[in-house]
Each structure stands twice: as C-alpha cells, then as structure tokens.
C-alpha cells in the first residue's frame, strides 16, 4: 500500500505550561521526505511545540496526526508504536551518561529487536561510523566534545532507522564548521534513509541550507505568522518580523544607523 504524502499533520494545536499559553491554534502539514524547519526567535515556543509533537507534553487543545493516526487520542500501546517511528536529537544530546557511546546506540536495538549481541555490535559500529565516530565505541559522554556528543546522539537517534527524525537546535553550541558538517550529515541521512526530518532551529545558515519547508512562530501573537520554503519567505514575505529574522535583523540595524 502506498503511504499518504502527508506524513505529519498538526491541527489546531495549543501548547501551554499550566495557564501560560506558549503557542496556540497551530496548523501545518509536513510531507513525507520533507526537511521541515520550525523557526522563530528565542523563547517563542519552538522546543515546546516539538515536545508536544513527540509525545512529551500533552497539548491543551488540538491534535498531531502521524500517517493519519491521532497521537494524542491513541491508546498508550498505540502511542508507543507511533513513537517507535521517531528518532530524536535533543538540544544537549541527552546521551545517557552512565553508558558508553556504543551502549547508548545499542539500547534502542536491545529494547526493540531480537538481534544477537554480535549483530547489534556491528550495527552500532556502522551507525557511529556514519556520523564520523568510528572507534569511539567505548568512550563515555563525559569524555567527548560537544560536537561529538551531538553526532553520537544522532547515531542513537538513527539506531532503529526511524521514519521521522526530530532535531532540537542541532547546531547550538557548535562551531560554524561542525554546524555545517552536521547540516550536511542531516541532508545526507535524510536522502539516504528517506526519512522525514523536523528541525527546530534559529540558525539562519541551517535554515537556508537544508530546509525545504518551514513555519515561523511568533512570540507576540503566539502563533504561526509565516509558512513556506525558507528561501521563498525571504524573497516574498511582507511581514517585518519574518524579514528581520531572516536577514539577521539587518533591516532594523540599518534603520537604527540611519
């Protein structure tokens, strides 16, 4: 059976912490194979939206559909089976600190497959090699650099060959070269695995380099104020907030200088 083109549908989603509404009435669609960017200024609720999309924060209203299945209306077992399609790269990597890199990548495989330890070891070595960490199996997260942690976390996110990869600020804390290499890696993996990629970021270089669709969240109106391909948004958007963001605030800087 051919799968629907719409991989993820977010419908009328409102996310809040207690009575503090972070974003409201968010509606957008992510197509299969898209590299979809959720962008916006710091503190506008991008990561909160991501937490709600991956099942960590129940929304106060609205739904998230994966292949037509509503995540938040599903039974816990159904939710688990939807979550098995996810690979998530957290902002700080979130590697389990008491486990080696190999054990970090192996854990999802041990939990969800009946593979023998030998086969798991081979897969672990391959995944680590794919992110440029061949030979680092026995290191603990505390013994490696920030960039290596991000890459190891990416290897773990890819362990089960997920259909959807979520990235929360993948370039944060990385130098420009490491950030660029990570962007290239994301494109490469997305193309070769055929995965849908959802990225929360405010890094302009990444947004233009890898995104083929996007939404722009606004902290003042607490909702989406622009959507579309990032390059097109830059060329066609009339919204000053979007333009300022996508031009690194240079429009406003020019005004100030004048």
């Amino acid at each position: 059976m051919e799968k629907a083109e719409h991989h993820i549908i977010v419908q009328d989603l409102t996310v809040a912490y207690g009575s503090n509404v972070i974003q409201h009435d968010l509606t957008f669609t992510i197509n299969r194979g898209d590299i979809f960017i959720i962008m916006g200024g710091s503190g506008c609720g991008k990561s909160t939206l991501l937490r709600s999309m991956v099942g960590l924060l129940p929304p106060t209203k609205g739904q998230v559909f994966y292949d037509g299945l509503s995540f938040w209306s599903a039974e816990p077992e159904e939710q688990k089976s939807i979550m098995r399609k996810f690979g998530i790269l957290y902002q700080g990597g979130a590697l389990w600190s008491s486990l080696t890199l190999a054990e970090n990548v192996a854990l999802p495989l041990q939990q969800y497959t009946d593979l023998s330890p030998g086969q798991i070891n081979k897969i672990v070595s391959l995944k680590l090699a794919l992110v440029g960490l061949a030979g680092s199996e026995e290191y603990y997260p505390s013994e490696i650099s920030g960039g290596m942690k991000k890459r190891a976390a990416l290897a773990r996110a890819m362990a089960l060959d997920p259909e959807i990869l979520f990235f929360d600020e993948p370039s944060s804390g990385l130098d420009p070269i490491s950030a660029h290499l990570l962007d290239e890696l994301i494109i490469e993996l997305s193309n070769s695995l055929g995965a849908t990629v959802v990225i929360v970021t405010h890094e302009l270089a990444s947004i233009f380099a890898i995104g083929n669709n996007s939404v722009f969240l606004d902290a003042d109106t607490k909702t989406i104020i622009a959507a579309g391909e990032p390059g097109k948004l830059l060329a066609e958007s009339k919204d000053p907030k979007v333009i300022n963001f996508l031009t690194r605030g240079e429009g406003r800087a020019q005004e100030m200088i004048r």
Binding site: G55, M83, Y90, A94, D220, M256
Partner: protein, 377 residues
C-alpha cells in the same frame, strides 16, 4: 580623579530648555538627580523642546544613560520633544539600543500580594497534589515490581549489579564506623546506670536487643538516606535536566522500569544485609566497652547476648531494614523524577529526598513497633 558631575538647566531661547552636563558622569560618583530636572520643567509651561550640551562632559558610563532615560521619560510624559543631537554619538547609539526592542505585552510579572487564606489554600492544594503524585509513583513502582515478578520488566542487569555494589559493598566502611560507635555509646550510657546496681552484665542485653531489633536498621536507614537516597535523587534529577529521561520516554522505555526498579531492588536486597552487618558491629562496640570498662570477659558478654537476643528480634530488625530500603529508594527516586530542569532544582530534590526518607523511616519504625507490640512479637 575626574571632575564632579554637574547638571545645569539653561533657557537659551524661549522655547528650548538646554540640559548642560559637565564633569565625570560615572558610576560610584555623586551624581545629580533627575528630580531637579522634573521640577524645573514642570514649573515652566513654555518649554517646547529639550536639547543637550555635553561639551564640558569629561567622561560617562551607564549611569549617564540611566539619567538620560529618565529625562526622555519626563519629556515623553509631557509631550515635549527631546533632541539628542548634543549627546555624544556613543550615548545616542546606546539610547537607541535600549529602546529598540519594546517591552513585550504581558511579559512583565508583577509581585502579587496574596492573602493569608489564599496561601493556606494554595499550600493545601499543593500538599494534596504532592500526595497524589506520591501515590501515583508508588502505584507505578508496584506495577513495575509485579512486571519484574512475571519476568516482563525491562532493565539492564548490569545496572542492578552496579547499584548493588554502590549501595552495598561500598557502604560497609561508613556502616561499620557508625554502628560500632552507636554500640559504644549505648553500652557506655547503659553501663553508668547499670553499674550502680551491679547489673553491668545487662549491658550486653541492652546493646544486643537495641541494635538487633531497631537501632541497626534505623541507623543503616539514615546512613542510606543521606548516602544513597540523596545520590539517587541527584542522579535522576540530573538526568531530568539533561533530557536523558525524555530520551528514554520517547524511545518507549519506561523510566520506572529502567531507572527506578533496579535502584529499589538493590536497596531492598542490600538493606537487610547491611543491617545484619550493623548488628554485629554494634554488638562489637558494646563488647569493647563491656571488656574494657565493666570487667566482663568475652564469653560472659557473648553468652548474655545469645541469651537475650531472640530470633524474633532479628526478624523484626531485618524486616524493618527491608521496609526502610524500599522507603529510601522510593523517596530518592520520586524526588529525582519530580525534579525541575535547573541546577537549583537538583539541589532541592536531593534535600527533599533525604528529609522524606528520614521522616518516613521514623514513621515506619513507629508503626512497626506498635504493630509488633500488639502482635506480641
């Protein structure tokens, strides 16, 4: 040292009020207040614009900007235009920067004054919620234990063995020290009173029954609360801060089974063994006092201890220790899992874990003592 900062207000024309700033406008110096300016401008209704003259100003820093913001606010409040041309270029840029991003609507948080009854109500609701969370956690832990008994719980055996090593073997030195000292203290206090009646041999009974039935379990429980319970809370709290627990959840792995269960199981298994060891160490402490101060010999002390301490006492002690083990693990893991996402929250979780553990140990001991008394054990 620079010149004193001075403010002079001049009417160079009918419509303009010129603010002349001279001297060194820097932090740490005595500076003119903006109130003088406010009084001046409010007393004259013919002012149509405000200008600046800073030719005589020798230096400036943030305090000048704060003073100028005050002037801008006064001017804007009275709808009098303020011309910034006379200010140094750097000051103009900083003023522009300070007002470039306007305050977001609703972002300011006012200090709320809550009434006494409101605070009582809020505390009661928070207490109720905290109890519900605790009950939920105990329920989840029970389910995890049941899964374990059916062989369905998913955790890494290596984690269990590592935790057993950390809270078992590695705790022996501190348990030895504290238990010997408790035995010594108990024997010493008893000896002073019992010697008066020539009944010093009963020091062996006092120490033996006291340690085996209650004190070894309580002291081990308190040591484990401070050592292991706090460590559990800090470990899980830090995992919460680093999103490691989120990573487990989104992978469909239950943190309760993967993180909490091995810790609870390890303490449940180790506490009775540690308590048994503490019994022996406490009795050894009593023996040292008996032999060195009360002229008892080793065999006398040994025989009196054997005669006084019954198997029931041992079972009560071991049962209490197992209960304390579960309580300490529950409190440590509960507080760790409830931890917020900041370094301060980890500290609070650790403190709270120790307090909860110690309170629950004392309450549980009281309940066990009453129940044993009623059942005549």
């Amino acid at each position: 040292m620079g010149q004193k900062a001075e403010l002079t207000l001049l009417r160079l024309s009918d419509a303009a009020l010129t603010v002349r700033l001279s001297g060194d406008w820097k932090l740490g110096r005595q500076l003119p207040q903006g109130e003088e300016f406010r009084r001046e401008i409010e007393s004259q209704d013919t002012v149509r614009r405000i200008t600046f003259d800073t030719k005589a100003m020798t230096g400036w820093d943030t305090c000048l900007i704060i003073f100028l913001i005050h002037i801008l606010e006064v001017g804007s409040g009275m709808q009098i235009p303020v011309e910034k041309d006379g200010l140094p270029a750097g000051v103009q840029r900083l003023l522009a920067l300070a007002s470039a991003v306007p305050e977001r609507k609703g972002v300011r948080r006012e200090a709320e004054r809550t009434f006494f009854l409101d605070r009582i109500g809020d505390s009661a609701i928070a207490f109720w919620r905290s109890n519900l969370e605790m009950l939920g956690f105990i329920g989840e832990a029970t389910v995890a234990f049941m899964k374990l008994s059916f062989g369905k719980a998913r955790f890494r055996p290596s984690d269990l063995f590592l935790t057993i090593q950390e809270c078992g073997a590695q705790a022996l030195p501190i348990v030895s020290l504290i238990s010997i000292l408790v035995g010594l203290i108990l024997a010493f206090i008893g000896a002073i009173q019992l010697k008066i009646f020539g009944a010093q041999i009963y020091v062996a009974s006092l120490v033996g029954i006291g340690m085996v039935r209650a004190l070894a379990a309580i002291m081990t429980g308190i040591i484990m609360a401070g050592r292991t319970g706090a460590s559990f809370a800090a470990q899980l709290g830090t995992m919460q801060v680093n999103e490691e627990i989120d990573a487990l959840k989104t992978l469909g792995i239950s943190p309760m089974e993967f993180l909490v269960l091995p810790r609870m199981l390890a303490l449940f298994l180790m506490m009775p063994l540690l308590s048994l060891y503490a019994d022996l160490m406490g009795i050894l402490g009593g023996l040292i006092i008996g032999v060195s101060m009360l002229d008892l010999n080793f065999m006398e002390y040994y025989n009196k201890t054997r005669e006084s301490v019954h198997l029931n006492d041992l079972w009560v002690g071991l049962f209490s220790a197992a209960v304390f083990g579960v309580l300490v693990a529950l409190a440590g893991c509960l507080r760790g899992m409830q931890c917020g996402r900041s370094a301060a929250a980890v500290g609070e979780a650790t403190t709270s874990a120790v307090v909860t553990s110690i309170v629950s140990i004392v309450v549980a001991m009281a309940v066990i003592t009453v129940v044993c008394n009623v059942l005549n054990i």
